[in-house]
Structures are given as C-alpha cells and as structure tokens.
C-alpha cells in the first residue's frame, strides 16, 4: 500500500494509464534569422491562446467559471508585457524561442515560489504550466488525448495541469494519482468538482506503476493499492458501493427540510467566517447562518473597520441568504485571538481575562460602531445579534440597552432597520449555564458554544497536551450543562441552538434531539450529513439513549455507548 494526500473523497478502482512526462529538453542555439524566429514564437503564442481558450471554455461547461479562470489566467500571463515582451527581447538578442520561454518563466517561477503567501506560490505552478505548454508547442510535442482514455481508467501523472484536467471525462476516469499537489492544488479542486476520487503527492507513483496495472484509489483515506490481493480488492469493491450509496443517500437530502424520524422539524444552519462563505452555505443547502464570526473583518485589517465597511460585509451575507436567518456574533477577541492595532494588554490569563463582550462593553464607542452596522444590515433580511461569552445578566441587559439606543437614533434619522431584531446569548461559560433560566427570560435565543463550554467547564486548556485528554464534550459535567441550557431555553419558550463543532457529531446528535435542541449550526460541508443523521432518530429512541447516557458516571463509558449507538 502507498500513502498520499487524500484530496478528493471516494473509492476508485480501475486500470492504470500513466501520463508520460515528455522530455522537454532542447538545444539552445544561436539564431541567425531573428525575424523568422520571432514569427515562430508569435505563432506558438497564438496557438497557446487558441488551445487554452478552448480548454477554459470546456472547463467552464464541465466544472464552473471559477475553475475556468485558472486557465484564463494563463492567457493573461503569456500576453503580459513582462512575459511575451521579455521573451521577444531575448529572441531579438539572438536566442531561440525555447530558451527565451524557459528563461523568463523560470525567473518568475523562482520569484513566486519564494513568496510568503500560499495563493501566490500557487502562481508559480501556473507559470510552470504555461512554460510546459509553450515548450510543447514550440517542440511539436503532442500529448495523449486524455478525453479518449478507456472507461474505468485510473490516471497516473506527475502532476495534472489544468489543461490536462479539462480533458478528463468523468465517465471514463475513475481515479487520479499524482506525485505532487495538496488539498488546495488545482488538481485537487478539479477532482473534487468532478467527484473523482484522488490521492495526490504519492511519492514516485509514476515509476511504481505501469499501464494496465489495477489500482485502488482511496481518496477518503489517502491510500493506494497497486495490483491488490483478491481480498483487498473485494473489500474495496464493497467499500466503493457503500460510499456511492451513502453519497446518493446524502444527495437525496438536498432541498429537504431537516426532520427527525417522527417528522419534527429542526433548523440546520451554517457557521461562516466571511460574507463569501454565505454562498457556500447556500450551495450546501444550509437553512440559515447560525454563527457569523465577525472577527475576520477586524483581523484582516490594519485599522478598526468603519461602520460602513462592517455594514457592507453584514449586508452582503444577509442578501446572499435572502431572508434566511443570519446570526452575527459580535466581536469575540481576546483569549487566543489578538488584533495588533487594538493594542490589547498582555494578560497572565487571557482566557479568563478582558475578552469578547467584556472588552466590547469596556470599549463602547467601537462596540456601538459594530452594533450600528449590524442593525443597519437588518433592513436587508433576518439578522440577529449574538453576544459571546456572557457570564451574567447585566451583560445581556447592557447590550440590549445599546441596541435600543441605536434603534431610537435610527428612528429619529429615518434609517431603515428590522424593528424585531433579536438579541441572543452564546452560552459557553459555566456561569451562563448555571443562570440559563435567568438569561432565558431576557434573551431572544440561546446558542451553545461547545468549544468554550467544554474548556471552561472542565477547566482545561486544550492546547496543553498534558491535560488535553480531559477536553471532551462527552464528559458528564459538560453533557449535564448542555441539557440544562436547552431545558431552560425551552421552558422560557426561546429557541436554543448549538454552533460548536459538536452540533454535527453523529454521537452527540441523538442527545441533542432528546434534550430538545431547536437549531444545529454546522460547517457548510456537513449540512447533508447532519440532516441525514437527524432524520434517523425518533424522539423516543433518542430519549431512551439519553437516559442511559446521563446515568453513566464517566466519559469513557459514555463515548463507548454513543459510538455503538451512533447512526451514520
């Protein structure tokens, strides 16, 4: 078995086709007829542009505009005065076209691959693609036509260039193996878009296989088997069927309401960090935004974002969601999140210090800017305000007062906003959990943040390897806390959500259903999985399990029982 990076999920089993790397060596020669050489070069550029335009068009149809842009970028690159222009200059000085292409491209590859920015380093591989394509045209080398490979082919290549990927036919290619590339490389993105299992960065894979070998590509685990034994093969054939069945089952949940087995509806929202993520939430069929972390606006900046800048971001997300709820968490900094320009003091104990709502209420001027921006955005959809790290009712009251102040001001100035804009609390401290009944009387909703709740309840720094074993949402103390929060919310008749990672955990979902959680907020890619798991539990069955779980006195047994009972 060989290991690589699991880049596109699923299992592919098929017959190997190795894409041979052409030797692009050439002999640099001194050019006599410079005019003719320039014409040869210009013709190659023209051919490159024609070919690439066609491939981009192909990708646009097969995969999408974003992926096509990569190839259109190659056209921009070759046409650039610093590329074609510099190459022409070199030909003018008597060098052959191949040398000119190589020298200029290598110069840029060297420059871009040294940058301290991931996306910029990616450009180095784009320039390398341009170089290879140009040299092939100049040297008259034709690639094999990937679009014509036989059905059931596993493509094996050193790297898949976007131009190769554009020719991949989903019907014929069942798996992809390469020697380079990671989860975010072009080949990975394209493989995922085409839903073809792929394992990348498998060392020397092009040398380890030959055409017609049988290969298993496990793109979920990153495993590769070449000419596997019978039992491995039959095991994987089974695994492949299960995966395909699961995928089609999950697709069946697209566009459906989120319901338990009894038909009770719950809300299934998404956690996002930027307005653009809202698009992802829609694509993944999220029913709203349960947590919009507003920190990005502050972190990716060198100054306090103005009211207008913040308003634009909140409005964008709200409009993308088109009337679906958008719960915006106000600035949650401090602890492990620092923002240089705020000049926050270094603290002995930052997680117990001046952070989140404490900082915000201590810096009312800047907090008002954020609240005003959020209230303004409420005119464009269903916006809600969520306060992080609440520990006493005074904090909730203080924020609500500020919101009332803003509303009054907006009324006077005739600024539009949603008069019913809700203000809710994150419940993520033991303090808030213990007074959940008090908070529930004045909060419009609750949202449980499992990461902080677990850390504070267990008094454990999960970054500290010596104590990390204690960090578990399945500790009886944490589960009791979650149960109490949900029950208090329900008694007061307010919705209770959960926006930590745990909301999508198949082990925790039955307990949440039993306790009566009304809103699950998960990473967009987990929407369908969570919807599927929720659909498999009836209240009665969940209650039975919860009763057993809550009677256990230690985390190990709880985890064992939940694991055994989990439905995927």
């Amino acid at each position: 078995m060989f290991k690589g990076i699991a880049a596109s999920r699923g299992i592919g089993i098929g017959s190997v086709c190795v894409i041979v790397e052409h030797d692009l060596k050439f002999e640099a020669k001194k050019i006599e007829d410079i005019q003719a050489e320039k014409e040869r070069f210009n013709k190659a550029v023209e051919e490159f542009i024609t070919e690439t335009t066609a491939q981009a068009e192909d990708i646009r149809k097969k995969i999408g505009p974003k992926e096509a842009e990569i190839l259109e970028g190659h056209i921009v690159m070759i046409s650039d005065p610093s590329m074609a222009g510099e190459m022409t200059k070199m030909i003018d000085s008597g060098q052959c076209a191949e040398s000119a292409v190589e020298a200029v491209c290598d110069m840029f590859i060297g420059m871009f691959s040294k940058m301290d920015d991931d996306m910029m380093r990616q450009r180095a591989s784009d320039i390398s693609d341009v170089k290879i394509s140009m040299l092939k045209i100049l040297l008259g080398i034709k690639d094999i036509d990937i679009s014509k490979v036989a059905p059931g082919t596993v493509l094996v290549a050193k790297d898949l260039t976007p131009s190769m990927t554009s020719q991949i036919n989903k019907e014929n290619v069942v798996g992809i193996l390469t020697e380079v590339g990671g989860k975010t490389s072009h080949s990975a993105i394209l493989a995922r878009a085409l839903e073809i299992p792929a394992v990348l960065s498998v060392p020397d894979i092009t040398k380890l296989v030959k055409d017609k070998d049988t290969a298993i590509v496990d793109g979920t685990e990153g495993n590769v088997y070449i000419n596997p034994e019978g039992d491995v093969l039959s095991q994987y054939i089974l695994k492949r069927e299960e995966f395909i069945k699961k995928q089609s089952e999950l697709k069946g949940f697209l566009g459906k309401e989120t319901k338990t087995l009894d038909g009770d509806t719950v809300e299934l929202f998404c956690n996002i960090g930027t307005p653009k993520d809202a698009k992802k939430a829609i694509e993944c069929d999220g029913e709203g935004i349960g947590l919009f972390r507003s920190e990005f606006l502050f972190m990716d900046n060198n100054h306090m974002p103005t009211e207008d800048e913040q308003f634009a971001a909140y409005k964008e997300a709200t409009e993308i969601m088109g009337g679906k709820p958008v719960i915006i968490r106000t600035l949650d900094i401090g602890g492990d999140k620092d923002i240089p320009y705020l000049n926050m003091k270094k603290e002995e104990n930052p997680f117990l210090g001046y952070r989140a709502v404490r900082y915000c209420l201590g810096n009312k001027d800047s907090y008002m800017i954020q609240l005003r921006a959020i209230v303004r955005a409420s005119a464009f959809g269903k916006v809600k305000i969520m306060i992080p790290l609440v520990t006493c009712v005074d904090e909730l009251r203080a924020v609500k007062e500020l919101v009332e102040e803003i509303k009054k001001d907006f009324d006077e100035q005739g600024i539009a906003y949603d008069k019913d804009i809700e203000v809710g609390c994150m419940i993520e401290t033991p303090a808030a959990s213990l007074i959940a009944d008090i908070l529930a009387k004045e909060a419009d909703f609750f949202s449980i943040g499992t990461n902080d709740l677990t850390q504070y309840t267990m008094s454990v720094d999960r970054g500290n390897a010596d104590v990390a074993y204690l960090y578990s949402t399945f500790q009886p103390s944490v589960l009791r806390s979650i149960k109490n929060i949900i029950e208090c919310g329900r008694k007061a008749g307010i919705p209770v959500g959960m926006c930590g990672e745990a909301a999508a955990d198949p082990m925790l979902i039955p307990l949440l259903i039993s306790f009566g959680l009304t809103e699950f907020s998960v990473n967009p890619v987990l929407v369908l999985t969570a919807r599927c798991v929720i659909s498999k539990w009836s209240k009665e069955e969940a209650d039975k399990l919860a009763e057993k779980v809550m009677a256990l006195d230690n985390e190990k047994e709880i985890v064992a029982l939940l694991k055994e009972s989990a439905k995927e």
Binding site: E69, G73, V76, M77, D80, P81, S82, M83, F108, M111, F112, M115, D116, D117, M119, M120, R123, T274, K276, D300, N301, N302, E309
Partner: protein, 87 residues
Amino acid sequence: MVSQVVKVTNEQGMHMRPASLFCQTVTPFSSDVKVVFNGTAYDAKSVMMLMSACIKCGAEIEIQCDGPDEAEALKKAVELVESGLGD
C-alpha cells in the same frame, strides 16, 4: 507626475484577477503607471509585475502616473482600488 496613496481593501489583495483588472484599466492610458509598494516601483501595466509585488489586503500602495493623461489615469486607478478591485 501625479501620485496618490490608497489602501487595498479587497480580501484577496493583488492576486490574478484583481491585478488583471487593474492592468486592463491603466493600459489604455499613454501615461506610465507605476505602483510603489515597500519602496519598490512596479510597472502597473504588467500583471506579472503587479503580482510579484505580493500586495495583500490592508496594504497601502502609491500609484504614480506620468504622462499626458496622468490625471485621468490616476483618478481611474484610485477609483478601482477603492472600489475593491472588482471583488
């Protein structure tokens, strides 16, 4: 020569698409257009040069225009950056 300092506010910074757009906008002008960042001047009519500057969101850049239509070129360039470079 005219010049102005502006802040790059789009999330991606001067990546492929924003850089292309910037380039397309200034190329029709006959003035020389340069972007000065971290003490180096980059030819703004070249996408490759613009990208090689590795300008990220939040960076302050100086746009310099020199030529017969410099005022108009500068105005257009500044407007584009301020509007978020098409992002």
